[in-house]
């Protein structure tokens, strides 16, 4: 059903290089509203660069990123900012602000982006903390006092606090034990559904992929070499996907040259 809607995000011929190192060499991808797309691929294939380019944290060398058919990098700055305000991200290490309390971290976008009153922002932050299963008593703690899993939950609460249209998840379960990984996966699914957002996740964790994804795209050498529904991932005869999904050491990809 999602694929019949006009895409929320359309990437066409997206390229990005750092000096002579070409990371993205012509990415074409469509993401429908409310779809949960997971991008898989070996280390160094450009997954992080891809999502950072979509979010305008990096500027592409070529190609386009269309958000609801509007070219993000050819818009006046104010309009570009308005679109970017609809995006949010859960960073790999959560990227919480050390000098702020947990509730201030969660409410940061509300306080400084939306200029919400501190009392109202705190109330909303507490609600979001509850949504991710964290007790209210942690609101006044600082990030350094939390475990890795708790930080990820706070990061998730911050990502959903502004009711974004598109949420990016950068390796959401990296560094977590299997139980906490599943907790985060469940929270991602429930929170994204509650907010009604489009989700784009990059991960190596196949359990996460099966948990979160409605569609999967595989990146290899800066290009999307396969994409399809999550159900098609196990049945495809694409040798790259098969090797990656089953973690085989032999196949078209080698450890030296993913």
């Amino acid at each position: 059903m999602a694929s019949q809607m006009p895409p929320r995000l359309t990437l066409r011929g997206l390229t990005k290089a750092f000096g002579k190192n070409v990371v993205l060499s012509g990415i074409d991808l469509d993401v429908a509203p409310r779809e949960s797309l997971v991008i898989i691929g070996g280390s160094g294939t450009g997954k992080s660069v891809l999502i950072k380019t979509i979010c305008a944290l990096l500027y592409p060398d070529g190609g386009s990123v269309l958000v609801d058919d509007r070219d993000l990098f050819h818009l006046p700055r104010s309009e570009q900012q308005a679109i970017l305000r609809r995006f949010s991200m859960l960073f790999q290490g959560a990227a919480l602000f050390d000098s702020l309390t947990i509730w201030e971290n969660v409410a940061f976008g509300l306080l400084y982006g939306q200029k919400m009153d501190r009392k109202a922002a705190r109330r909303l932050a507490l609600e979001k903390l509850q949504d991710v299963g964290l007790p209210e008593r942690l609101a006044e703690a600082y990030p350094a006092e939390l475990s890795g899993g708790m930080k990820k939950r706070v990061g998730l609460a911050r990502a959903i606090a502004g009711n974004p249209d598109v949420i990016f998840f950068d390796e959401p379960t990296t560094g977590l034990d299997p139980i906490m990984s599943n907790v985060i996966n469940d929270l991602i699914v429930s929170c994204v559904q509650k907010v009604g957002a489009t989700a784009i996740t990059i991960t190596h964790d196949m359990t996460s992929v099966r948990h979160i994804a409605s569609r999967v795209a595989m990146l290899h050498q800066g290009k999307v070499i396969w994409q399809g529904d999550i159900t098609a991932m196990d049945t495809t005869d694409n040798p790259y996907v098969q090797q990656f999904v089953h973690g085989q050491t032999t196949g078209p990809m080698t450890a030296e040259k993913p």
Binding site: C55, A56, M89, D98, K115
Partner: protein, 255 residues
């Protein structure tokens, strides 16, 4: 040979231009809303109040050493007025702002570079952008403002403590009369002496914050990168302080 000199020169000018552009953009954010009063208030405390002990101690011992050294050098023309004049002019014009500047560069410049560098490598700066907050406005501009405004206040304190250090040594060790020492101090001191020191202080504060922010903001490569950024920030700020000190002295007192 010529090629490598040319490459080095080009690279130097490129970096200097990048640094200058960063400073201009950051300065422009100081006067454009939104303003982060809470952050600026916290930085006033961090940069100003918490630098008082180190700046005060440095100034006290500088004043004391100055009194002892001038006495040993000028004992043949021994007079309280000469020693008092040397101490008050050296402290207000040079030692107060320069010593405070170097101390604050070590304490605050390093802290700014380390904080922003860590924020960069842990993606906190990217997170700020994702939360619709301009990092230059939220992180850099308040630090520039706080350092520029706090340094003159620190230097006023340093001037007073430094002069008092010289006074204590003059009276207790060198046997000067307290009243005539103070009288000579106030007779020698002119508005321009203090004012030039405060202009230097504000300039040094700005330079310290820009160096700290610039090197922290563009740090990369994990812990090693943050360490390198901190070193560069302190070294660059210290050198720029000495260069700026010469330029401002030439402008105020040059013939």
């Amino acid at each position: 040979m010529l090629q490598s000199i040319g490459r080095a020169l080009l690279s130097f000018f490129q970096k200097a231009g990048h640094f200058a552009l960063f400073a201009l953009v950051a300065l422009s954010h100081i006067v454009r809303p939104p303003f982060y009063a809470r952050t600026v208030g916290r930085l006033f405390l961090d940069i100003g109040f918490y630098s008082l002990p180190v700046v005060g101690l440095t100034a006290a011992f500088s004043g004391m050493v100055l009194a002892l050294q001038s006495y040993s050098g000028f004992s043949s023309f021994n007079s309280e007025s000469t020693i008092a004049a040397i101490v008050v002019l050296s402290i207000t014009r040079e030692l107060g702002p320069v010593m405070a500047g170097l101390m604050v560069a070590g304490r605050v410049g390093a802290a700014i570079a380390a904080e922003l560098g860590t924020m960069r490598v842990t993606e906190q700066i990217d997170a700020l952008q994702m939360l619709s907050t301009h990092p230059m406005k939220y992180l850099v501009a308040p630090r520039l403002l706080a350092a520029t405004l706090m340094m003159p206040l620190l230097v006023i304190v340093a001037d007073i403590i430094g002069i008092m250090g010289g006074f204590v040594i003059g009276v207790s060790q060198l046997g000067f009369n307290a009243g005539s020492y103070l009288k000579s101090t106030f007779e020698t001191l002119e508005f321009m002496d203090v004012f030039s020191g405060l202009v230097k202080a504000a300039t040094f504060g700005l330079l310290i914050a820009i160096c700290g922010c610039y090197h922290g903001y563009y740090s990369r490569g994990g812990a090693q990168g943050v360490g390198a950024a901190t070193t560069y920030a302190v070294v660059a700020a210290s050198i720029l302080i000495l260069v700026a000190n010469f330029v401002i002295t030439a402008l105020f007192f040059g013939v």
